[in-house]
């Protein structure tokens, strides 16, 4: 017998309601670096946003990380924390030392050492109703 498992979307809806969240955040439709799991999480967030709006009358923006660093919402970051986070992937991507030039496989993350920028996504149903 196959046991029904709650979907990620349902879990997000449940958590957002219980926590009283006022916004969701995702890594963007391309998952920032192209990772399929990142992208899947983004679309689960959008689906949860629609359910929250259409079934629960809760309007939450999704702050979607912009991989081109052109988002209208700009957030400051702590460079050292970002470098430490990158260093966690050193075993996968090779050499990395704080303060040195990033290896080619890490170049996509270099802008995140200075700021995070986000696009603000509204529920699709809200846009259609306007």
């Amino acid at each position: 017998m196959v046991e029904h498992r709650e979907s990620l979307t349902e879990f997000i809806v449940d958590r957002a309601r219980r926590l009283g969240s006022t916004a969701l955040a995702s890594m963007g439709d391309l998952g920032y670096c192209g990772h399929a799991d990142h992208s899947a999480a983004h679309y689960a967030a959008l689906a949860a946003q629609e359910i929250l709006y259409t079934r629960h009358d809760i309007t939450l923006p999704v702050f979607s990380l912009n991989h081109r660093h052109e988002g209208s919402v700009v957030v400051p970051v702590q460079r050292n924390r970002k470098l430490s986070a990158l260093a966690l992937h050193a075993s996968q991507f090779g050499f990395l030392q704080s303060g040195s030039d990033l290896p080619p496989t890490h170049r996509i993350y270099e802008p995140l050492l200075y700021a995070e920028t986000y696009d603000t996504i509204l529920p699709a149903a809200l846009s259609m109703a306007a």
């Binding site: 498992r5 990620l8 879990f11 969701l24 970051v77 702590q78 992937h89 995070e116």
Partner: protein, 65 residues
């Protein structure tokens, strides 16, 4: 539609791995009024209170819908 500035938001971030949080959303979570993170990986989702750095809840979920 106008939304409040980030500093007045209670963020729920959705990522697929614990390492994703610091690299992708730490700025947003640190700027916001409060932050929680859903880490969804390998069929399981955990909710972490980012502000308190504590695990709130773990649930068995279907990662891909």
């Amino acid at each position: 539609m106008q939304f409040a500035p980030i500093t007045r938001h209670d963020i729920l971030s959705i990522v697929s791995h614990p390492d994703d949080v610091e690299m992708h959303h730490s700025g947003l979570l640190e700027t916001a009024r409060s932050g929680h993170v859903i880490i969804a990986t390998d069929g399981e989702a955990s909710t972490v209170d980012y502000t308190r750095r504590s695990l709130c809840r773990r649930r068995n979920i279907a990662h891909r819908t």
